[in-house]
């Protein structure tokens, strides 16, 4: 048995890529015959063999990159029997043609290449996994041949918190833009579809006078450079967080058939992205933070959301979502709750509207606040209390500016 090794085809050659074999097992080769083509990274080089013999086996496949000196093939010297044949006792030494005839046996003795391992996932399971934003390769299969079934995917979906569009978007961040958008659209479709399937929404709306709030803001912003001015959105966020102290059943998660309240308010702020889609990353502990800090965090969050550099915590734990159409024009927004959250507060644009005050109709800045809430966790009466509290808080903007500690021991206590 002779080893045919990859020769060095130049002083600087350390490895080569086998491009092609010109021979196959069983072929008789002669010294000087070109048997293979090897790419040295500089050129494709025809490689000759330096022994006569019969090719027994090819050890390197086209496309393999191997170091110089690697055994590429083995060949039998003229008259040499193949090992499998030689092992049989009392077998006469075989001549070359006989050797060639038994070569398939030699080949068969080589363990067959394992088939490419692929986690079997049924077509319907794969489709459902896509809808739910689950990686089916991470799910244990219980179906035919160990395959992942639809039931396995749905069990996996139940075992984890709902995907938010933001999470899916972040997961897709390294991918190409159109792909990311498609993935985001899919994630939004999955989360919103689930929301509308599972969550019995109820909706309430309240028109809130913003005269005091805008006046306070105007005063606050006076003399400040544009970049440091506070936006109404911050007041609204803060007011939501404080109003939730009266109605804790709107802040938290509905999981495993019951509502779990959250003490801190991490409001997911819906941010539309320039390429389409949206994310709703959280600003944490809103009730406990002063307005200036919230403004900085909001600015930072919007910037990072649009740059696609959100942190996982921001995406995984919003306890309620606030969507603020702001200056985009629509008067009223009725939101779709992100499961497993139980409420979404929406604000339309702040516009001057006719408003009756002290028996007279006046033009006042007002905003339409809406609540979409999960009827499994709360009732309309409580939802209405929340909106009323929100309205009252926004009439006292200075109190919003002052209140930045929250009673941690009794989050749900009604004042």
């Amino acid at each position: 048995m002779i080893d045919f090794k990859l020769p060095s085809l130049g002083a600087d050659m350390e490895e080569g890529t086998l491009l092609q074999w010109h021979v196959k097992p069983g072929d008789t080769v002669q010294r000087g015959q070109v048997v293979a083509v090897v790419d040295t990274s500089k050129a494709a080089v025809d490689v000759e063999i330096w022994h006569d013999g019969v090719l027994a086996e090819l050890l390197v496949q086209p496309g393999d990159k191997v170091p110089v000196g690697t055994v590429l093939a083995r060949l039998l010297e003229p008259g040499e029997a193949a090992p499998a044949l030689a092992a049989v006792p009392a077998q006469p030494v075989a001549a070359a043609p006989v050797v060639a005839a038994v070569l398939p046996e030699v080949k068969a003795a080589v363990p067959p290449q394992a088939p490419p391992t692929r986690h079997p996932v049924s077509p319907s399971a794969r489709r459902r996994a896509g809808e739910l934003g689950i990686d089916p390769d991470g799910v244990t299969g219980t179906g035919a041949q160990g395959s992942v079934t639809l039931a396995d995917i749905e069990a996996a979906a139940r075992a984890r918190p709902a995907p938010t569009p933001a999470a899916a978007a972040a997961a897709a961040a390294p991918a190409a833009a159109p792909d990311r958008q498609a993935q985001m659209r899919k994630a939004i479709a999955a989360a919103m579809g689930r929301s509308k399937r599972e969550i019995p929404h109820y909706y309430l709306a309240e028109t809130i006078p913003m005269q005091a709030a805008t006046a306070w803001l105007q005063q606050h912003n006076e003399g400040l450079p544009v970049t440091q001015r506070m936006l109404p959105a911050v007041l609204l966020l803060k007011a939501v967080a404080l109003a939730l102290r009266r109605t804790p059943e709107l802040n938290g998660f509905y999981r495993d058939g019951r509502f779990q309240a959250s003490v801190p308010v991490h409001a997911g702020v819906a941010i539309s992205l320039r390429g389409g889609g949206l994310v709703a990353p959280a600003i944490h502990d809103i009730a406990a933070k002063p307005l200036d800090q919230l403004m900085r965090e909001l600015t930072d969050l919007v910037k990072r959301a649009r740059a696609g550099s959100l942190r996982s915590s921001e995406m995984s734990d919003p306890t309620i979502t606030v969507t603020n159409l702001g200056d985009q024009g629509a008067e009223t927004v009725f939101g779709v709750i992100y499961p497993p959250q139980v409420a979404l507060v929406g604000f339309g644009s702040i516009l001057a509207r006719p408003w009756v005050q002290d028996g007279e109709v006046r033009a006042l800045p007002t905003v339409r606040a809406t609540l979409a809430a999960d009827h499994r966790a709360s009732d309309g009466h409580r939802g209405a209390l929340f909106l009323v509290e929100l309205r009252e808080l926004l009439q006292r903007p200075q109190s919003l500016a002052q209140a930045f500690t929250m009673p941690q021991d009794q989050p749900g206590a009604t004042p």
Partner: protein, 329 residues
């Protein structure tokens, strides 16, 4: 009120009704007259309708099927009985090249309103040459409508619909079904279509798609599977050409798993066609690979135990379903 009736009697009633209803209808085939039919389907009809309308033929399938084609072209409504599908191979030219194609070859000028009945299938220890299930071969041919009545209702009702069809219709009667019994309502005979498949048992976990002589086996398998906690739907194809894709896909989409049960060999078979259509039309609804239970790829053996081993059996259907459900073999 209903009455209990055998498949054989239902078929005979259908023949009698057809012969009474239309003077153009006549029955022709080997031993259909004096002998009363090899499977006794036409027993008594010779006495009732006479030798002009119940005609015994020589043992020449190509001859009498060809004569049936000619009679149909000439304005009659012949019912030709080919004793079994095994012998129909002798008449392939008349059936495939002539009956199925004349409408096309004549630019629509001629139609062949011919009905051919044949027994099919194995299971009676009559050995390889008398045990074939070639209905799937005919289902390959455009121009033919291929029926496989598996219930007493279809045995009673399909013939009338077949005679009303202006083109050739083949009716395959599984020989094992002749003694099976079922309930028919009193009064007017059942009206059945010859274009749709039928769900014979509702289920949610797996669709057993079958026809003809395998229907009772599939129903028994569904019964056993129910005891194992698996809800099997049983779909009776009824019409093998044209296949009722909509009903097949509805069942597969509901159950997400399917096993095709067919007494024919699997290679190049009707079972293969059904599976191919499912892959084309319902791939993304599947939750497991498709499976089928067919006859072993051997000429059907004569010895009873070997014949049983070669044919689809309830236990094999149950095992196939279990493996789809993820049970280890």
């Amino acid at each position: 009120m209903s009455r209990r009736i055998s498949y054989r009697e239902a078929m005979r009633e259908a023949l009698r009704e057809a012969l009474q209803a239309d003077q153009r209808v006549f029955l022709m085939g080997e031993d259909v007259g004096r002998y009363g039919g090899t499977y006794a389907v036409s027993k008594g009809l010779l006495e009732e309708f006479g030798p002009q309308r119940i005609r015994d033929t020589p043992l020449s399938e190509l001859g009498f099927v060809g004569a049936g084609v000619g009679a149909a072209l000439g304005g009659m409504r012949p019912i030709v009985e080919v004793m079994t599908v095994n012998f129909s191979l002798l008449a392939l030219d008349a059936i495939v090249n002539t009956a199925a194609m004349l409408r096309h070859m004549s630019g629509g000028q001629f139609s062949v309103p011919l009905v051919i009945r044949m027994a099919t299938g194995a299971g009676r220890q009559v050995a390889a040459q008398h045990s074939n299930s070639f209905e799937g071969w005919y289902a390959h041919v455009p121009g033919l409508r291929v029926l496989a009545p598996a219930s007493v209702e279809d045995a009673r009702g399909m013939l009338r619909a077949a005679l009303a069809d202006p083109d050739p219709v083949l009716i395959f009667e599984h020989a094992q079904l002749y003694n099976s019994e079922g309930e028919l309502p009193d009064g007017a005979p059942p009206v059945v279509d010859i274009c749709s498949a039928a769900v014979r048992r509702d289920g949610t976990d797996v669709s057993l798609i079958t026809h003809g002589g395998c229907l009772p086996k599939a129903l028994r398998a569904a019964e056993e599977l129910a005891a194992l906690g698996i809800s099997a739907e049983v779909l009776d194809l009824r019409v093998l050409r044209p296949l009722d894709d909509a009903t097949i896909m509805a069942s597969v989409r509901k159950c997400r798993r399917a096993v095709v049960v067919d007494e024919a060999w699997r290679a190049g078979s009707l079972a293969a066609e059904v599976m191919a259509r499912i892959m084309e039309q319902a791939f993304f609804d599947l939750d497991a690979p498709l499976a089928r239970v067919c006859s072993e790829e051997v000429p059907i053996p004569y010895a009873r135990h070997l014949e049983e081993a070669a044919l689809p059996q309830v236990s094999r259907i149950v095992a196939a379903v279990q493996s789809l459900m993820g049970a280890s073999p």
